[in-house]
Symmetry: C2
């Protein structure tokens, strides 16, 4: 099975309103409720691709129960979230029907105690032993040490299980130094890590800092991969309009599934690029449109190759 | 006991953000979670005044359980909410720390089935038999007939229990025709009911439509009462700045407690006015500031009297 870790899970709510006006009162015409957090989104995409996936991280309070109840309903996903006493956060995406814009409100994560963090590490050790690959995804809730991902990467490496890291800021900086097999920063995370806004230079630098391979997700500019086997750039056939929420999580799911299936890098990048584009085009944030995915796989451009490494 | 009815209960969330910008992403710095809906707010104020109060209406889903769990923690309030299969709505008040403004997002209420409405009426009949007074408060969720309050008013009158109605629109129009003992419209509700924006004319008209007494809450202009015993106007000593959310519910609590204690109208209006002002001044929407309440009771102005009826 594939293991995804989401320390800062969320109950994601999407609200539709006619037009968002600060200081106004709004009737929400539609509410969509989903279990969220990056690793949970990755697991949902993996399950849709036919990979059995286990979700771990923290869940607490009434909102945590809602996340766990909703996970029960996703075929192919197993819930292995660890209990915390504080409540799982909510995130609210307010979609303005007039402009199409989305306004995001993110609650703070639940404070995690030292004892809870300890209990998580124990559960994680058991789960890693049964995993073919591990993905560490998203932000850290308060109370979890900033070096948490470095600790979890070392444990996975000690168990001989490949590990992917998708986070930002100081947790990314410390995590990269612990030598993960793959990191997937976006342009902002890459610039913050390396100080460079030039994608190739920054991606090479991120690799030098300890990651075995780096796949940078550059939004409409596609993916830039720097790996021991070579360098590639992958782009979708056209700039797609839609909601980019969750596109990065679909890239992670594409890379993980390709790794488990031992696909060559070229094919992993085609899959990840097509999945990201199909997520941008889906009507609900974080889902992917299966038809768009099937259509785009034949039309993704990958340049570069094994000689460029 | 006092019985308050909230057919459209809510889980009320208050979010603090630095500055609300449409299309932006916001970290919520503080989340306050409370059981809500007008009758629930009324019950909380009544309990704080020392009156045993029972709350009925509907509760469903995870949010309904959160409302019921939170009610357990309020001394003096008994939960008699009736289960529905759909989930209780959330309301979100986003407080902008820079401007002090509040932006409101209200989810739609849960669809109520004919069978659930029937089960509620049966439970209501039993509760009314044990009540000294009933208050019917707020909007109707989808599926509840627009004449619902008229039906509930007739049942209370048949049981010889005085009944107060606090709602707007068509449910108010139909409810007034069923001859409640008291209605408490605000200026907008009164204008919509009567077509008149002149408060005294509109209040007299509302009484002619069937209400035994009308107390109009006119915001900073205070209360205007037209009753069989006389007419009064009550005003707080000064225009208070603060959050007016819940001030109307505090007026209802003041009027209900005064009725149960058989206070003369003058004293009921003093209490209701001071409570409303103390609610505007409280740091959390819908709570009241006890010291402001105690101070203001001596300083509320009431004009009019029994001769003017």
């Amino acid at each position: 099975m594939i293991l995804t870790v989401t320390l800062n899970t969320a109950l994601d709510l999407t609200y539709r309103v006619r037009a968002l006006r600060p200081h106004g009162s709004h009737r929400v015409s539609e509410v969509v409720e989903r279990p969220g957090g990056k690793g949970v989104n990755v697991a949902r995409v993996l399950a849709a691709l036919g990979h059995r996936t286990t979700v771990t991280g923290f869940a607490g309070g009434a909102t945590g129960r809602q996340v766990q109840d909703a996970l029960l309903a996703v075929p192919g996903v197993t819930d292995a979230l660890v209990p915390v006493s504080a409540a799982t956060r909510r995130t609210i995406a307010v979609v303005d029907e007039t402009t199409g814009d989305t306004t995001q409100l993110n609650e703070p994560g639940p404070p995690v105690t030292a004892r809870e963090w300890s209990a998580f590490q124990e559960a994680y050790g058991d789960l890693v032993a049964a995993a073919s690959v591990v993905a560490l995804c998203g932000s850290l809730p308060p109370g979890v040490p900033v070096g948490a991902y470095a600790t979890l990467i070392r444990a996975a490496r000690a168990a001989g299980v490949p590990v992917l890291l998708d986070t930002g800021g100081e947790p990314l900086r410390r995590g990269v130094a612990a030598r993960p097999d793959l990191v997937k920063p976006n342009a902002d995370e890459l610039a913050e890590l390396t100080g460079s806004h030039e994608p190739l230079r920054a991606t090479l630098d991120a690799r030098r800092r300890g990651a075995r391979a780096v796949v940078a997700s550059l939004g409409p500019d596609g993916l830039l991969a720097v790996t021991p086997e070579g360098r590639w750039r992958a782009t979708a056939p056209a700039r797609l309009s839609g909601n980019p929420t969750g596109a990065g999580d679909s890239v992670v799911a594409g890379l993980l599934s390709g790794l488990v299936e031992r696909l060559p890098w070229h094919d992993r990048l085609v899959r990840a690029t097509a999945l990201a584009a199909a997520t941008v085009r889906a009507p609900v944030a974080g889902e992917f449109d299966r038809r768009t995915y099937d259509e785009l796989r034949a039309r993704v451009t990958v340049t570069g190759g094994t000689s460029a490494a």
